[in-house]
Each structure stands twice: as C-alpha cells, then as structure tokens.
C-alpha cells in the first residue's frame, strides 16, 4: 500500500478557499549532515565537488526533503481531509537565499496559499519556508498539489492519484 493518510477526515467542510492563509507550526529541527548530502548527491548521480569534502553544500533540491515534513503536517490536519496517497505533485519551485550547508539546523513552516476546488479535485498551492533555528531564512519553496477526494468514506481507499 502507498503511504496512508495520517489525517482521518472527520466530516464537515473539506479543504476549501477558507483555509487559505492557514499555517502550521515549524517542523522539529533537522540537522543537515554531510552523510545525507553525500547520499542525496549520489542518488542524483551528481559528482559536483561542492557536495563533497568537509563543508559541503546540499544539492538545491535537497530542500524538498525537509519541505515534505511540513507537508505531512497539512496531511495530518483532520479538518482538511487530505491524504498523501490521493495527491499528485503538480508543480514545484524553489527560491534560494543561500544553499543549505552541512551543519545547518533547519525547520520548515507551511502556509496554504491557494485552494481551488473543481468537483472532487482540489488544487492546493502551498509555500514552505525553510529557515535555520537561528532565524536565517534559507529558501522558500512552493508546490501545487492536486488532491482528488473520494466520493465517500467507503471509497477512501480507491486511490486515483499518487505522490510523485
């Protein structure tokens, strides 16, 4: 089975325009490590020397690893009734103040920017701000997530989309 929803929808209005502006507490501090940078670069087949040595930076898209932890907060929000396994990743963009470096202690804070509902399909735009625990802003990353709502609770396992 795909990763299951952590947010069990409890009735009421599912995600809608009124949730625009909702933000979640920062994720717990995550330490960017040399080992994780090396693993990530290897997975991309990227031998850029900036990702090696004693003071490496992280590949730019590494930010998504931490942003995904902030997504989990939204998926766990029972008021929204969203589930990761019904989400298709539509768009992703990053704007960097600086690269992530080994040793950075970072948190990610998610804000819902846009919600557009078209029948059972919900287009959800979110921004995740990534900053160090000292308050040094590192990156803003935006995503468009396309969530398809099942026709009923019984259909909740009838997956129509997957996270990319």
């Amino acid at each position: 089975m795909p990763a299951r929803a952590t947010g069990h929808y409890r009735g009421g209005m599912p995600i809608n325009e009124s949730h625009v502006g909702r933000t979640y507490p920062p994720t717990p501090a995550y330490e960017v490590s040399r080992a994780k940078i090396a693993e990530f670069a290897a997975a991309l087949g990227d031998t850029n020397p900036a990702y090696a040595g004693h003071t490496p930076i992280a590949p730019p898209t590494f930010v998504a690893v931490v942003a995904a932890r902030a997504w989990d907060r939204m998926f766990a929000d029972p008021e929204l009734g969203m589930a990761l396994h019904r989400v298709v990743h539509g768009e992703q963009a990053f704007t960097y103040d600086r690269p992530l470096r080994a040793g950075d202690l970072i948190t990610a804070t998610l804000t819902i920017d846009r919600v557009r509902v078209r029948g059972p399909v919900e287009f959800v735009g979110v921004t995740v701000d990534v900053a160090t625990t000292d308050g040094d802003h590192v990156c803003s990353t935006t995503s468009t997530l396309v969530h398809t709502r099942p026709a009923s609770d019984e259909a909740a396992t009838a997956t129509v989309g997957v996270a990319s």
């Binding site: 990763a3 991309l44 087949g45 990227d46 850029n48 900036a50 730019p60 898209t61 690269p99």
Partner: protein, 135 residues
Amino acid sequence: MTGLPTVGAELPELTVRVDRATAVRYAGAATDFNPIHYSDRAASALGLPGVLAHGMWTMGAALRAVTDWVGDPARVRSYGVRFTKPVVIPATDEGTLVRVRGRVTAVSDGLVTVTLEATCGDDKVLGNAVAEVVW
C-alpha cells in the same frame, strides 16, 4: 564560466540513466518510500504504467544540466518545474534514460535564466522548467 552568456546559448546536453536501483537509492536519500517507486505490484494496483521515478528525482537530476554548466551550485537562485509525465523505470539492468537540454532564455541584472527540456523517450517529463543562476 566567465563571460556573460547570450540569450539563445545552448547548454551541453545531459543524459542521465535511471534504473530501479537509482529509485531505491533516491527513496532512501530523500526518505520518500512510496512503493510506486520500487514495487511493480504497488504501481499496477494504482493503474500506473509501471514503477515511476520520483518526480523530485527527475527535477534534481535535470538541474545538473545547469550546475554542471556553471560549476558552483550555490549560484542557483531559483528553480521551478511542472511535472507533466512520469518517468517509467523498466525492471532491466539498463533502466531508462532522461535527456536534458537547456537554453539561455534571459540575461539581466546579474541573473541568467535557463529553460530546460527533459524528455524520456517521446515524453516530455518536465514542463516550464526554469532555473535562474547568479552571474
């Protein structure tokens, strides 16, 4: 890279091979363990055409066309894509190939804008793929 590039300049083409091991490696590195990225059973249960590369892998791998070109990845100011088609990874030793081409589409105020095209076979796998680098 020293001289300012001109609009229309083409980046060296990049070809990246992705097989099932690549996807497993990325799952571990990114801690994204959705089984559609390694299990045929999970992928077919969802009606997918096969095991898919992580979209974020495709996005990250495609950016190498830019970072290989400029050298220092710290110069990347922004990068965005739309996920248009998935990269299907056959269960073979060869896997499949993602081909990335890039072209300079704007130069201004110390920023060079590169538009990328990423394809797998006949499929365009990324849309609106644009990176800005500091120059």
